[in-house]
């Protein structure tokens, strides 16, 4: 068959099928819109970050460390500056600390945790700091001036010209800081910003030995430099650094690798949620194609009589499905573009603050490919029967299409499975996750279809009994040929499953965070405390009524070697970097104690059992990640002094106890004279956390008090906002389920019209007919709701108890609301889709008999 004829036939075939085409397109468009929205946001934000990369680093090059930047790096930077006259550098130090407003009449002023940033003149080299009033940022900050975040100003009730106390020194508030170029307002900051000059930071003396400070040296190279030149400069600094120094050298071209990595992970998860909607769309497509082909069997038989070959018939209808798939995908892309246009407003605070374009070609292409692919994969099963339509049907109507044989059926199932797996691989970027997803979807769909069959069997049995007439007709409607009960239950149920599972996991997480802390757990932590201050701090804690006070020393050190293998070599042996490398090169926190706290259990070896050698006890999982085991010799550099320790015990720690715990605990007597700080935890009565913080801020401004409740609330609020994004994407799945139910009803519209006409002719009122429909759709919704909710509970239970090791709580509200909501949606969508049948006067429908 010539292509031109084939395309004419495809075009003619679409005539008079606008209803079915609309349904086909709508089913697919919902899923494609979800896919395009997620991919478009992810690509758009990523592109936005890369586009603003220089501003987001505020420099061309940044050297970062959790301790003073090694002199080798500083010398390398100086060499760079010398080689390129006009180049500049600026140091920026950041730390968490408590700041306060001055007190009055001997009572300390209000205090708050803040993220303090001390920046040298020149910062930022790119981008700008926006302030209120605007002119506050025009000149460099003086040593006694500060800019504060608006939320801090309102919390401490201070404004422009007022005094802010940082580290016991007074600063004048010059204005409020609205935005910084190198901070993406993603709502993930746990404390508000305070910006002071480098000289100001020096005045606070907060960088006392042992305080946790993130240090960054920013470099702006003179002239117009491109990414390659900056990378060359970065390499020269990296080369100068000792191996595995823990110092990171970033160029603007790296563009926030950690943030982008996090966004990519989020996009992959949400991508799979979006794919569920698309797969539901696929189920709808399959149903639409089946219904459409059922009306075309006679025409196909005629075509066969006219000499169209079986393969040509399949090709013709496959091309039709592909074209409709394309149309559905394009409609979905247009809807996705609309979603991308409103997303920044709906998700403000969740998305990073970068310009976001609605034009995302890659996401559109992905939507097009997945939409068309899913449409074709799900059209496969009904299309495969087209080949078997016998031309004999033109003479003998009872000649039905044959069922595909065993091998053909297996092949079709395999193509469908492969299609879903391929789509999931694209969305998740992992073949393994995609396989689990595909199996999960098929198992859930099979369970739902099984429940649908049970419903139909039950309905068929009950409808024969003496029950009320409305109920009997409603039940009979569920089992009528082509009723679409199975499809409706499966698709709606899958949508409910996804939404319920997402809601339960989110609620489970937030509830765990917000749960009352165990009665003996500490609710405040004190860090950055000098050893000499501990006695006085204990007194203040006692005054505040604190109980369960524990304070332990903390010694900063760096890992040098394990069993004689230097860290640099260990890093080289591990590919992939990330956490496994960071565990080796990070600043390690060591403590020492005689007996372990009760939430620690020694699972291998014996604590302090070798009198001849200095011992260390390591948390079991941490030891595994480090690559150390019982008997390993580990060497630490304790601020310039090498210390060899032997691993004599491995422990497990119950981190959920909120106690002060360490991965690395050293035998007492070994580190007693090493430079050290103290960290403490206590439980203070409700309401005394803030006065305690205010008093500590006044008397020991270097001590940082962390309130567990406050941090938990911040994390819960962030989860809540992220949950909004997840719920929005999950909502597409319900929408797709509803579209399919409505489509299933629409496919039986003419039959329904005749039934309504007959019922009305026999004396049924319109209300009575609505009652029949109500029974049918309510039962469909009930089964989909119950099975979907059960599946959602099972999935959430698995994620919460197995993957996250949290406790499972039954949530009666969800358990009741989800099935009821499903019934309501099913009834509304079903009756709305039957509206034309209900409106028809009996004579109109009877004429068409």
């Amino acid at each position: 068959m010539r292509l031109s004829l084939a395309s004419r036939l495809v075009a003619r075939e679409a005539r008079g099928a606008s209803g079915k085409i609309l349904f086909f397109v709508a089913c697919l468009a919902v899923g494609v819109a979800a896919v395009v929205t997620v991919a478009g946001l992810s690509d758009g934000v990523d592109r936005g970050i890369r586009g603003e990369a220089r501003r987001l680093l505020a420099a061309d090059l940044a050297i970062r460390a959790e301790r003073p930047i090694p002199s080798e790096a500083v010398r390398a930077v100086e060499a760079l500056l010398a080689a390129r006259p006009g180049s500049r550098r600026a140091s920026v130090h950041e730390m968490a600390t408590i700041v306060s407003a001055p007190g009055r009449d001997g009572t300390p002023g209000p205090s708050a945790l803040a993220l303090l940033k001390g920046a040298e003149e020149g910062y930022p080299f790119y981008g700008e700091i926006r302030t209120k009033p605007e002119q506050a940022a025009r000149r460099a900050l003086g040593p006694d001036e500060a800019l504060v975040a608006p939320e801090l100003a309102s919390k401490l009730r201070i404004g422009e010209g007022d005094t802010l106390r940082i580290g016991g020194r007074d600063f004048v508030v010059r204005g409020e800081i609205l935005s910084e170029p190198d901070t993406l307002r993603v709502g993930f900051s746990l404390a508000p910003r305070v910006l002071i000059s480098f000289a100001g930071l020096g005045r606070t003396e907060l960088e006392a030995f042992g305080s946790r400070v993130d240090r960054t040296m920013l470099v702006a190279l003179a002239g117009r430099v491109d990414a390659r030149e900056v990378e060359t400069a970065a390499r020269s600094v990296r080369r100068a650094l000792p191996e595995s120094s823990g110092v990171r050298v970033q160029t603007y071209a790296d563009a926030q690798p950690a943030l982008r990595d996090g966004l990519r992970r989020a996009a992959r998860f949400l991508g799979l949620v979006a794919l569920v909607s698309l797969i539901l769309g696929g189920i709808g497509v399959s149903q639409a194609v089946r219904a459409w082909l059922a009306t075309r069997v006679d025409a196909i038989a005629v075509l066969r009589c006219l000499g169209v070959r079986p393969g040509e018939v399949v090709a013709l209808y496959t091309a039709e499905a592909a074209l409709l798939g394309l149309a559905g995908s394009v409609a979905g892309i247009v809807a996705g573009i609309g979603m991308l246009a409103v997303a920044p407003r709906v998700l403000s605070g969740v998305l990073p603050d970068v310009p976001l374009s609605v034009w995302q070609p890659q996401a559109m292409l992905r939507g097009l490919a997945l939409g068309t692919g899913i449409a074709l994969a799900f059209s496969g099963p009904p299309l495969s029967a087209v080949r078997l339509v016998p031309p004999l049907r033109v003479l003998r109507r009872e000649a039905e299409p044959l069922r595909p044989g065993g091998i053909a059926a297996i092949l079709i199932a395999l193509v469908l499975f492969a299609g879903v797996w391929g789509a999931a691989s694209i969305q998740s970027g992992s073949h393994r996750i995609a396989a689990a997803f595909t199996v999960g979807i098929f198992v859930a769909a099979a369970l739902l279809a099984g429940a649908g069959r049970l419903l139909m069997a039950g309905a068929s049995r009950i409808s024969g009994r003496r029950v009320r007439v409305m109920l009997r007709y409603g039940l009979a409607a569920l089992v009528r040929p082509g009723a679409g009960t199975l499809t409706a239950v499966t698709s709606l149920g899958l949508g409910v499953l996804v939404v319920v599972a997402l809601a339960l996991v989110e609620r489970g997480l937030v509830a765990r965070l917000r749960a009352e802390l165990p009665a003996r757990s500490p609710n405040v932590f004190l860090v950055d405390m000098q050893t000499a201050q501990w006695a006085d701090v204990q007194r203040i804690l006692a005054d505040a009524g604190a109980t369960h006070v524990t304070g332990v020393p903390i010694v900063n050190a760096r890992l040098v070697s394990i069993d004689g293998v230097p860290v640099a070599e260990l890093v080289r042996r591990r590919s992939g970097g990330g956490r496994r490398e960071w565990i080796l090169t990070r600043e390690q926190n060591l403590t020492y104690m005689d007996a372990l706290p009760s939430d620690n259990v020694v699972v291998e070896g014996k604590l302090w059992s070798d009198p001849g050698r200095a011992e260390i006890s390591i948390e079991r999982d941490f030891a595994r990640d480090m690559g150390a085991s019982l008997g390993s010799k580990v060497v630490f550099d304790v601020q310039g002094v090498p210390q060899e320790l032997i691993v004599t015990s491995l422990r497990t720690v119950d981190w959920k106890s909120f106690g002060v715990n360490f991965f690395l605990v050293v035998e007492p007597g070994v580190l007693d004279r090493a430079p050290q700080m103290r960290v403490a935890a206590a439980r203070v009565p409700a309401g005394s956390e803030q006065p305690l913080q205010d008093r500590l801020a006044a008397e020991f401004p270097n001590v940082t008090l962390l309130k567990v409740r406050e941090i938990v609330e911040k994390v819960a609020a962030i989860l809540d906002r992220l949950g909004l994004a997840v719920r929005l994407v999950g909502g597409f799945a319900i929408l797709a389920g509803i579209a399919i139910l409505a489509g299933a009803v629409g496919a039986t519209a003419s039959r329904r019209g005749r039934e309504v006409a007959l019922l009305k002719t026999l004396g049924a009122t319109r209300g009575g007919v609505v009652g029949v429909f109500f029974v049918e759709f309510a039962l469909t919704g009930l089964v989909a709701g119950l099975v979907g909710t059960s599946g959602g509970c099972l999935l959430a239970w698995g994620v919460l108890t197995r993957a996250m090791e949290l406790e499972w709580t039954w949530r009666p509200l969800v358990l009741v609301a989800a099935p009821l909501g499903t019934i309501a949606l099913s009834v509304i969508a079903g009756i709305a889709a039957s509206a034309s049948a209900l409106r028809k006067r009996p004579i109109e429908a009877l004429r068409s008999f």
Binding site: R12, A299, G307, G311, P391
Partner: protein, 233 residues
């Protein structure tokens, strides 16, 4: 000797009926010459339509041979049978079987396009004119009367100039006057095209037009009648 257009040897067709096999066509031998008009008569269930389906390769025989122009067709693949129908066989059905989503003209055009015949549009228009429906070419089947639909079906059947035309009760769904008009049209088109026509009917008047009448009973040829001694070559 001229090769018969259709030759049937020992043809049987059995269909499952419950647990048993029902013999619908029972060892039939038949030879139809080129250009011959054969009417197949018989009561319901005598196997008329099945015989027609077997001749067209729409169904496969249980036993025996069917040769079209000397070439056996019972073992051809589905694709080859389709190509054979495309080039050599035209159909007219009792229920018209026009494609509802195509206009009258497109219905006539379709077999011409499938056979890739040059000047398809002109031939389709000429055929529509020949059946008296020039003005209705843009109408869809649902907008035409039964007689008009059947005339479109006739135009479609003759469009690719098939050597064989198979007609299954072409006037069965029409009133007498319309049926007559359709038969006249059929006869006129057949004469012009010199096609072999096999027409299934149980209307003796319709059968009276044929060169030969074959009466089937219980799947067998009960008797044959000829209008004239030799078929028109």
């Amino acid at each position: 000797m001229t090769v018969p257009r259709i030759q049937i040897r020992g043809l049987s067709k059995r269909l499952p009926s419950g647990n048993a096999l029902l013999t619908v066509i029972d060892r039939i031998d038949l030879s139809i010459a080129p250009g011959e008009f054969v009417a197949v008569l018989g009561p319901s269930g005598s196997g008329k339509s099945t015989l027609l389906a077997l001749m067209a390769g729409l169904d496969r025989p249980s036993e025996g041979e069917i040769l079209l122009d000397g070439r056996p067709i019972q073992n051809l693949s589905e694709d080859d049978l389709a190509l054979l129908r495309r080039r050599s066989i035209g159909f007219v059905f009792q229920s018209f079987q026009l494609l509802g989503n195509l206009t009258a003209r497109e219905n006539v055009l379709l077999p011409l396009e499938l056979a890739d015949i040059e000047g398809a549009a002109a031939r389709a228009d000429a055929l529509l004119a020949a059946v008296g429906l020039s003005a209705r070419g843009h109408h869809y089947p649902s907008q035409l009367s039964g007689g008009e639909q059947q005339r479109v079906a006739l135009a479609r059947a003759f469009a690719p100039e098939p050597a064989i035309l198979l007609a299954d009760e072409p006037t069965g769904n029409l009133d007498q006057a319309t049926g007559r008009l359709v038969l006249d049209t059929l006869e006129s088109l057949r004469r012009d095209s010199r096609a072999t026509l096999v027409l299934v009917t149980h209307d003796p008047d319709v059968a009276g037009l044929a060169d030969r009448r074959i009466h089937l009973r219980d799947g067998r040829i009960d008797r044959e009648e000829r209008r004239i001694a030799e078929p028109v070559a």
